[in-house]
């Protein structure tokens, strides 16, 4: 016997109700983890909009360096950077601390670094690479390549 529509509704209602109670789980703050990590770890020097600071601190906004050094970014966040670099045609030479070097910032997991980089690479005029947003596996491979886990 075919199920009449109103009977189906009666059936589905409790299912919906149960489903609704799980919905908030889909809206955790994790979605904005990249942005929150940026504000917490990076914005002090690189600026709230990734604009950098004079010619002391390079910009992340519209940065050719990000596009050209995609493979190294995971390790730069972890280990920092020393020595001169050129960003958008301007030479910078200020030591950058890696998150591992600072007492307050401590350790970022491969997943956190992935979210942070995906945030950087999709804001302020930056575009993700041709393969699309980063995956955690990609970050893990990058970190292994520079002796990290």
């Amino acid at each position: 016997m075919p199920v009449r529509p109103h009977t189906a509704l009666r059936w589905l209602a409790p299912v919906f109700a149960v489903g609704l109670t799980f919905l908030p789980g889909c809206f955790t703050n994790k979605q904005h983890q990249g942005e929150r990590l940026y504000v917490q770890h990076c914005s002090g020097c690189h600026g709230e909009q990734g604009q950098g600071l004079g010619t002391l601190i390079p910009p992340l906004a519209g940065s050719d360096y990000l596009a050209q050094h995609r493979e190294q970014l995971g390790c730069i966040i972890r280990q920092g950077l020393r020595g001169p670099i050129v960003v958008n045609g301007v030479r910078y030479n200020q030591q950058m601390l890696g998150v591992q070097d600072t007492a307050t910032h401590k350790h970022l997991s491969p997943a956190q670094i992935t979210n942070l980089l995906n945030y950087l690479e999709s804001h302020w005029g930056n575009r993700p690479g041709p393969a699309g947003p980063r995956t955690i596996a990609e970050t893990q491979a990058q970190l292994r390549a520079c002796g990290e886990r």
Partner: protein
């Protein structure tokens, strides 16, 4: 008749009373406190004792253009200080970035100076300071001096300006320090201390600066 005379006689005192009331409504202008150590000395002539407030320790330094900078350079003027070093990978960019914001708003005010002391005089030569100032985007040859003095002198000075600064091998860049801005008045008294890493305190500085500048202007008008 009677009423009229009361009115006539009462008008003047009434008006005077109203004027007094109105005057009392006018708020006293806000004044910044004098911060730091104080000493109370008995007045030899009798009467109330004198309170002696600590002033900024004497210093002698050179700025990014090689000009001598001492306490006397700012006599009768207000100045704002911070302590940094050029290779500082930690809080300095943020701190000097905040000072740059203050400079962008108040930098053109006559009688206001900005002084950034390096706590790493071994590395930060005047040429390094000049380069740093340019890279930061601070105007050259103006009222923002990036200065270098002896190591002993700069750490004494930091203490006198309530800024924690000391060599520390474990700290990023080799120095442990905090991001205090100290606001000094025309007589060398510290009138405000602000943590540059705390947006609320930086906002307080934006509000305090005009208050102090007005007080100094008022004082100079009187003398």
């Amino acid at each position: 008749m009677m009423l009229k005379s009361i009115l006539r006689r009462g008008t003047l005192p009434l008006l005077a009373g109203a004027a007094l009331l109105l005057a009392s409504c006018q708020e006293e202008p806000r004044r910044l406190p004098i911060l730091g150590e104080r000493d109370v000395r008995e007045n030899p002539k009798g009467g109330p004792a004198d309170t002696i407030f600590a002033t900024v320790p004497a210093f002698q330094a050179h700025d990014q253009n090689g000009k001598l900078v001492t306490n006397q350079s700012f006599t009768g003027q207000v100045y704002l200080t911070d302590f940094f070093f050029a290779t500082c990978p930690g809080i300095c960019p943020k701190m000097n970035g905040e000072l740059l914001k203050v400079y962008q708003k108040f930098g053109q005010t006559p009688g206001l100076n900005f002084v950034s002391f390096t706590i790493d005089p071994d590395h930060d030569s005047l040429a390094v300071l000049r380069d740093y100032a340019q890279r930061l985007g601070a105007p050259t040859d103006a009222n923002w001096r990036f200065v270098r003095t002896s190591k002993d002198s700069v750490f004494t000075l930091a203490r006198g300006l309530y800024t924690a600064a000391m060599p520390d091998k474990a700290a990023p860049g080799g120095f442990a320090h905090n991001g205090t801005f100290a606001l000094v008045d025309d007589k060398g008294y510290v009138r405000g201390l602000y943590d540059s890493l705390n947006p609320t305190q930086v906002q307080a500085l934006f509000e305090d600066l005009p208050v102090l500048l007005a007080e100094v202007k008022e004082r100079q008008k009187k003398s």
